[in-house]
Amino acid sequence: MSGAKFTEEVIRLAGEEIRTCIQCGTCSSSCSTAHLMDNSIRKLIRLVLDGRKIEALASDSIWLCTSCLLCTVRCPRGIRPKAVVSALRQICEREGIRSRDASFERIFMDQIRSMGRISEVLLSAAYALRNPDAAVPIMEMGIELLSRGKVSLDPGSVKGMDEIERIFREFENE
């Protein structure tokens, strides 16, 4: 996909209004996770309009959006910045580009499939094994939470595991 085609595709998915962006920054300064982002939402839209596909798709910001929609409510041009983020996520998915935390997502899904729910302790442990860098802060926080009784070591169980398996298989068949 060339730069121009990338721009067109995002516009198709997220709306024509994107072309009218005036780079005012209302979206980014309304954003609750803006301080964690490498590119602000405003800059993401500029990257899209300039056809800078690789930079846009590599941006962490896409995965940090919490879908609170404040950007979309406040945009003076009627643009839906949240829809731009969704479009970029969709294109990433389609092209097999994974976020930095793709391993986390895999562990998350595996646990759901095997237990029908998430166990914070098992999830953290599995993630820490694969990402040794993250192990220390996870353990620190885990100990604090355990001492206050905020997490349980017993994952518990759910009914209808066969239903969950059916959903997974159906998704795989698609």
Binding site: G25, S29, A34, L70, R74, R77
Partner: protein, 793 residues
């Protein structure tokens, strides 16, 4: 002998235009052809018909051959129709007894490679012109005496400027103002950009001049109730509300009465920052200098009446109705500030230290509620850090105002400068999206603000929060790419300008149209800046959109000058090429009332066209279901005669009859000619004033007579010379296509095209495309033949 009793005698003049026509068309053959047409008494070819010699030939023929009508086959009527109208008038004919065949722009110049087909087309064009000429009638231009008085609605700076110019030229002016004083918003401002001179100091002399001018009747605290009539004679009814103070007795000292008054209310002239009494004067420089009692606040204690040394307080004063007869009306109803509390995220109305532009203007004003101090309203202390937030209620679709309010950048630059000059240590920032400083001396003014040490932060503020120690402003510095937060003592919302909702009544009474931004629409967004769509009505100042003071003054003067042109002679000429109603046929269905863009038609039992208002587009005539509305020029019978003449010999296939509107697409076709853009010869163009004039019967007649296709072309949607004529045309075409389908004719044989006068190339391509499409469809009737089982018609 009365011309009506004998057959029409027509002279045809075919112009060589040097070689412009004669190089492509066989002029001699055209002359011989014209000679044989019915009613033609003489046909001549002339080297240059527009030359003195050419015109003299026509004149002497009119006299010697007793000609009744003239056909000139030459260039576009948009070029030389006025010339030849003058020619035949000089020879004693009525100017409307002329028809032109456009064989240059729409024939010889656009078909240079096919002289034979072009000559055939020219023959058709001449036959069409002769057919129409045989049905022409003399039309008399009537003049109507008019009132030379002018009503100016609104006493802001635009209205003041208009009133003074008119009065100084010797016209009587009625200046009606809703508030107790004239001066508008300008009278409330502190210093004004780009010179930073005191606003009221430059305005007060003008206000006093209005009061003193014997040609101006000033009516403050008054409103318009009804407007009837049309250009030249608007009958206006209004009312002056009671002030409960006799203006002839009040000396304007105000201290005596207002210090006695025990009631205090927020002062609307300070935008809520200060207070005033129930008996008050809006500003110290009020004109007229007369007190006014606010009946919503007054408790009727009578103390003011006792205190007044001049006995001017009159509790029994009544409202007074007035009636005016004026020739023209200038609408200078101004604007209203955007209600900043609608932008909840900025906290106006919740946080006391968030104020608006108008409030900071009043604070900075030495006569204002803080005597010129810039303070935090919550504490009364001087503000040490001030933020200006731009584009509040402007460039914002979330509040329905996508437009730029044009003056806020400059106003904030100015107020920031004034604060910085008064408090050099203050931290003053302007949060902006774009700084718009286009105007004489404006960029220099911006430069001055930068040099004074004002911070410019690019990025729109997303929200304002109140903390324990001040206001916190959230924004992204888009040039740094960082989301930030900054603390201020005072936040000024640079509120935009909105259309004045109080002016809606006047707008409705006059039938003014509004743009999507709700301001009054002017007749042409570029070329006619102060004219309304309604004859005799002019719009000045912010009534037609946000403007700075200097532009409002210029517009007031411009509107005054337009009104003078209209009324100075004391009479106006009425264009006779208007619509009229056959009252026998009219069924009073009111369809015409709804289609008329000039609001010229009213219905009492039957329809009536106000000829002073009608602009002759003909949309009503096409809309009339019983053909009761006719045009005096471009009549149904004339146009039908042109269609029949065009289709009499179908010399080409595919054969197209085109209806082109005079202002855009016909002009576009002319441009294709002057640009020598070549297109197929297959089209015969009939000029109409508006695409909205095209009656469905014209289309059906053309197809019935063997045209393979019909093209209707008008101005681009949204650019119609008559506002909405092309929309009516479009609507009609949609219905007509359904009808064609029903009777078995391929609806693709009817095509619409919208093209501007500058788009000759687009029109040429449309014609080319249409010819190709029709070639694919086959001759008209093919589809009918195909539908029959025998395969025959």
């Amino acid at each position: 002998m009365d011309p009506s009793e004998r057959p029409m005698r027509i002279g045809v003049y075919i112009c060589h235009c040097g070689l412009n026509i004669a190089a492509t068309l066989d002029v001699e053959e055209l002359r011989r052809f014209a000679e044989m047409l019915p009613n033609v008494v003489v046909a001549r070819d002339i080297q240059f018909t527009c030359s003195d010699a050419g015109q003299n030939t026509i004149k002497s023929d009119i006299a010697e051959l007793k000609l009744d009508a003239i056909v000139v086959a030459a260039c576009s009527p948009r070029l030389h129709e006025p010339t030849f109208r003058r020619t035949i008038t000089e020879a004693g004919l009525n100017q409307y007894m002329l028809e032109m065949a456009n064989i240059r722009e729409q024939c010889s110049w656009v078909h240079m490679d096919s002289p034979a087909l072009a000559t055939q087309k020219a023959k058709d064009l001449i036959a069409m012109a002769v057919a129409k000429a045989a049905l022409l009638h003399p039309l008399e231009t009537e003049s109507m005496p008019v009132s030379r008085d002018v009503l100016v609605i609104g006493g802001g700076v635009a209205g003041i400027s208009a009133a003074l110019d008119l009065a100084n030229a010797g016209l009587r002016v009625y200046l009606v103002e809703r508030r107790p004083t004239i001066g508008g918003y300008m009278a409330l401002l502190t210093d004004v950009f780009p010179t930073n001179d005191c606003s009221i100091c430059v305005l007060a002399p003008k206000m006093a001049e209005v009061y003193a001018n014997p040609m101006i009747k000033l009516m403050t605290y008054s409103e318009i109730l009804a407007i009837e009539g049309t250009v030249g004679h608007f009958r206006v009814t209004g009312v002056t509300k009671p002030r409960y103070v006799d203006p002839t007795l009040c000396k304007g000292c105000i201290n005596e009465c207002s210090s006695a008054c025990p009631v205090e209310v927020p002062n609307e002239y300070d935008f809520g920052l200060g207070k005033r009494k129930a008996i008050y004067m809006a500003i110290p420089q009020s004109v007229p200098l007369v007190a006014c009692i606010d009946t919503n606040a007054c408790i009727g204690c009578g103390l003011c009446a006792e205190a007044c040394p001049a006995d001017a307080v009159k509790y029994d004063q009544q409202s007074e109705e007035f009636k005016l007869d004026v020739g023209a009306i200038i609408v200078a109803t101004g604007w209203q500030p955007f209600d900043a509390s609608r932008k909840e995220e900025y906290g106006f109305g919740r946080y006391r230290d968030v104020v608006t532009t108008l409030q900071i203007e009043r604070m900075l004003n030495a006569a204002g509620p803080t005597r010129g101090d810039v303070v935090r309203p919550s504490t009364g202390e001087i503000a040490r850090s001030v933020a200006f937030i731009q584009c509040v209620g402007s460039r914002d679709q979330t509040v329905g105002n996508p437009y730029c309010s044009r003056i806020c950048c400059m106003a904030s630059l100015k107020n920031a400068q004034l604060i910085k000059e008064r408090y050099p240590d203050a931290d003053v920032s302007i949060h902006y999206i774009d700084i718009r400083a286009g105007g004489e001396g404006y960029e220099e003014f911006y430069l001055r603000a930068q040099r004074l040490g004002i911070n410019f932060i690019r990025g729109r503020v997303s929200s304002v929060e109140e903390g324990d120690d001040g206001l916190y402003v959230h924004y992204e510095d888009t040039l740094l790419g960082k989301t930030l937060m900054k603390r201020y003592d005072l936040v000024v919302l640079s509120t935009g300008l909105e259309a004045n909702s109080d002016a809606e009544v006047v707008g409705n009474l006059l039938g003014l149209s509004r743009r999507p931004d709700r301001f009054f629409e002017i007749a042409h967004p570029k070329m006619r800046p102060v004219e309304a769509h309604i004859d005799g009505v002019f719009i000045a100042g912010c009534a037609s959109g946000p403007k700075e003071i200097q532009v409002s003054i210029a517009q007031g003067s411009a509107a005054a000058s337009k009104a003078m042109q209209l009324l100075f002679k004391g009479e106006i000429e009425l264009d006779p090429t208007v619509a009229f109603v056959d009252r026998e046929k009219c069924i009073g269905c009111r369809l015409c009332v709804d289609t008329c863009p000039s609001r010229a038609i009213s219905v009492k039992d039957t329809a009536f066209v106000d000829e002073a208002r009608c602009k002759g587009c003909g949309t009503c005539s096409a809309a009339c279901p019983v053909d009761a509305i006719e045009m005096r020029l471009f009549s149904d019978e004339q146009i039908l005669a042109q269609i029949r003449a065009a289709t009499a010999v179908k010399g080409e296939y595919p054969f197209i009859v085109g209806f082109l509107c005079n202002w855009c697409s016909y002009a576009g076709a002319d441009l294709a000619g002057t640009s020598r853009i070549q297109y197929p010869t297959n089209i015969r163009i009939i000029r109409v004033m508006c695409a909205g004039r095209v009656d469905p019967s014209f289309v059906l007649e053309a197809l019935r007579r063997g045209a393979d296709g019909v093209l209707i072309a008008g101005c681009r949607i949204g650019e119609c010379h008559y506002v909405s004529g092309n929309l009516h045309a479009l609507q009609r075409v949609e219905v007509l296509k359904g009808l064609l389908k029903e009777i078995g004719i391929d609806p693709r044989r009817l095509k619409v095209a919208w093209c501007a006068a500058s788009e000759g190339d687009i029109l040429a391509r449309k014609i080319e495309e249409f010819v190709e499409e029709l070639r694919d469809l086959g001759p008209v009737g093919t589809e009918l033949a195909a539908a029959l089982p025998s395969g025959k018609v």
